[in-house]
Amino acid sequence: MTESIVNDLTIQAATVNGSGSQTANLVLTRAIFHMGIPVAPKNVFPSNIEGLPTWYQLRITPEGHMARSDKVDILIAFNVATWREDLKSVRPGGVVIHEEAFSTADVRTDIVYYPVPFSKLAKSKIQSDTLRKQLANMIYVGVVAGLLGIPWGAIEHGVKRQFLPKPKAVPVNLDAIKVGYDYWQDNFSKQDPYRLEPMTGVVEGKVLVEGNQAAALGALMGGVTVVAWYPITPSSSLCEYLIAYADRFRVDEKTGEKHVSVVQAEDELAAVGMAIGAGWAGARAMTSTSGPGISLMAEFSGLAYYAEVPVVIFDIQRIGPSTGLPTRTSQADIGFVYTLSHGDTKHLVLLPGTVEECYEFARDAFDHSDRFQTPVFVLSDLDLGMNLWMTPEFKYPEKGFDRGKVLSKQDLEKLAGEWGRYRDVDGDGVTYRTIPGTDHPAAGYFTRGSGHDEQARYTESAEAYARNMDRLSRKLETARHALPAPVVEESGASIGLIAFGSTHSAVIEARETLAAAGKAIDYLRVRALPLSDDVAEFVRRHDHVYVVEQNRDGQLFDLIRLALPAQLVERVRSIRHYNGQPIPAAAITEPLIQLEAVPA
């Protein structure tokens, strides 16, 4: 047998959706994480309820790489429909655990096979008729535990953690795992080099969180009180988590009254409309959606921009155009969302690149929105939003809410009622607002999406229109400096990378790989639109800068070129990945090796 490969492997479970395999995969993930080993799960699932192929990739690296890998070390082949195709994904020398009944005629000979009679074992060893289908998946958890040497204590932890809300389910699941574990011990001797060993030093203080969980928690800590949404993959879980957290933490125990109102609207038009109505009336309000939903929200977003109403809008991006691939990831909404709606509309867009930023940006989006009285979009994606990510624990906020420039009754008394809703008193483009219910005769004004002057009166005056549009530009310029600045990691290299959002994890790994090959590359991660001046300065300091993103047309690449002085434009190049699978590091290293003659 060749030399051992320890804690550095990728497991891929090929199963059937709706069969309970996701639970089995999560148990395995939590068990390995409990051993102190870094895990990076990616769930590739169909837009379907039951019966179609689904894959779960669990990448394990001692360094804690979190990008997807396209090399599979251990395949769990549980789906006869994709069995032949799945075999192709395994790297030479890799391992296949498969249902014994699958035909092995003419299969590859460069990999190790461990056939297991899963169906027979399920029939003979699992007593419960109703749970047999679900528990059959647990058997492969046991086989993998045996194969890789996962201690039984870690498996127990994984099951208990996964069934935290349903502790009664723990024994029956452990029994099913034991069936696979025993089968491994009784029937196989190890023919492959892969092993897992407990580790220290990387995962301490870290937790596993989905981006949508993080964003839901962020919204709660940001003080959201009105949430209106319409179910759509991959955004739904954000509001569902928020409902669960609000029910747990934000219901008055004595009265049963809710401090967060959540409405499942009739469509995305109504969802964003309700959030805008609530924002106008002074609540911290939000909606969350994806692709088709964000298209439907275009008109209302323009109203909120022009009438200057705070609202937070999450877009958990999926593949388009149109319905596209609802369960595949993408970063192709950035260009659309930035100027969502007709006319000269432009928005503040936050671009979280980690689950920790999903939490922080979701929380702070409400401050930005109140301060600048405009919609704030938080652009996440399916990969970030729906997969579990290893992350440091989130920090409790040290600052209170910033509600921005709101005039109270007392303020209006001091001003003797002299104010104008759209009058730029401070020269920063941000005007003062009053909230309905303010008990002063001068508080009321008429909010409208039609042309208005400084006093919010209807006007078709050319001068008033242009003046207002210029002020809105000024306001965005003020906001631009207050949004999260790019994160720059620089060591004087001649070439640089620019990325945003979930591409971050692939960039980290690509830079490590290239540095190991002797080619250091600098990195700037964009975290908000409109773009910071730091982007142009970064380009100025480098010979070539590659913008890496997960869309076909290089949308951030375009936005950056538009923002650059002419002499810098040619320095910027584009790397694009857009097949719906989360970007692997190889999608960055391979073009760079070619284009920059990096020694491979």
Binding site: T225, A265, G279, F300, Y445
Partner: protein
């Protein structure tokens, strides 16, 4: 010279708005005046009033009354969504929505229906003229089958009757009236505001420019000739005493949630406004006979409104601070540890 003031200490002038920019003689202007009268007489405090609208001639009108109140002229057909959100943010506000037949019965039909389904506490006035005024005279979806456009085109489609739709959905307050009938409109507006839940008030409001000719069923002359009121309506707010001097058996008394009363004096056949099926029948019979039935068609004063159903506190959600919205530091630490 002394000025008469209402219980809010305000004169009638305090309920006026900017000068109207609609056509002289537009039914909507009459409704604006009815609204001013109703709000003044109810003693509504302007700072608690939220005037909401969509897009169209009707939706401009919130600028023409109670200038000191907040107003929101949103996007076409979406007044219900804005109203729902604002109401959730602050239950203390009196939500008064003004829409039109284009705004409600075409693009806004979905939101109209879903607002009713939730029974959001608001008044929803439809200024219904059967035509698109701002875009110069196209038929709207409430235009009757066979009614004639100004240039002679005949409407070939069935009308959508907002009251019939509302009744079919189980709306908790449904009324129809005519802009020229202030005696009926004013008490109906007051009752709609006092009602806790979605109150739909479809007011036929002739468009003098595009839909006031022979062959129209939304013209002043047609409505005057065909209006059939089911009962004389009067409204007694909770802060006034009910003094009835009608003969027993001639008046129905509907008590609203806030203690106000709607008194309905029988005119022809007795209509029970708490009987939804009877209300549908009255509309259908009127339609078959070519009459426009007006008055309070249906009311259910007991139905739970949206915010109550949803356990939203009376104290405005907008006023809650960090200590009431964030989890505590201990809760947060415990919560994070659950992700390990």
């Amino acid at each position: 010279m002394s000025t008469t003031v209402n219980r809010a200490g305000l004169a009638r002038d305090a309920y006026k708005g900017a000068a109207t920019t609609l056509c002289a003689g537009c039914g909507h202007n009459s409704i604006t005046n009815h609204m001013i009268k109703a709000l003044y007489e109810l003693g509504v405090e302007p700072h608690l009033l939220a005037k909401m609208s969509g897009i169209g001639c009707s939706s401009k009108t919130p600028a023409y009354f109670v200038e000191t109140a907040h107003g929101f002229n949103g996007v076409h057909g979406r007044m219900p969504a804005l109203t729902t959100g604002a109401h959730l943010a602050n239950r203390q506000l009196i939500m008064l929505g003004v829409s039109g037949d284009g705004d409600t019965a075409s693009i806004g039909l979905g939101q109209f229906m879903h607002m009713i389904r939730r029974n959001v506490d608001c008044t929803y006035i439809i200024e219904d003229n059967g035509t698109y005024g701002l875009t110069k005279g196209q038929f709207s979806a409430t235009a009757d089958l066979g009614s004639v456009q100004k240039k002679g085109a005949v409407n070939t489609f069935q009308p959508i009757d907002p009251c019939a739709v509302a009744l079919a959905l189980g709306c908790s307050f449904v009324a129809r009236s005519f802009s020229g009938d202030g005696k009926q409109v004013v008490p109906l507006i007051k009752a709609a505001i006092a009602h806790r839940g979605t109150a739909i008030l479809d007011i036929i409001s002739p468009c003098v420019t595009f839909n006031d000719h022979d062959g129209s069923t939304k013209s002043y002359s047609w409505v005057k000739d065909h209006e059939e009121s089911i009962a004389d309506v009067s409204f007694i707010p909770y802060f006034e005493e009910v003094q009835v001097d009608y003969e027993p058996g001639t008046v129905r008394d509907v008590r609203l949630h806030d203690g106000s009363h709607i008194l309905l004096k029988k005119l022809g056949d007795d209509h029970d406004p708490t009987d939804r099926r009877a209300a549908i029948k009255v509309i259908e019979e009127g339609r078959a006979e070519g009459h426009l039935v007006t008055g309070l068609l249906y009311v259910d004063a007991e139905m739970s409104d949206f915010a109550t159903t949803e356990h939203i506190p009376q104290r405005p959600l907008k006023d809650l601070g960090e200590d009431e919205l964030r989890m505590t530091r201990d809760e947060f630490v415990q919560f994070m540890s659950e992700f390990a």
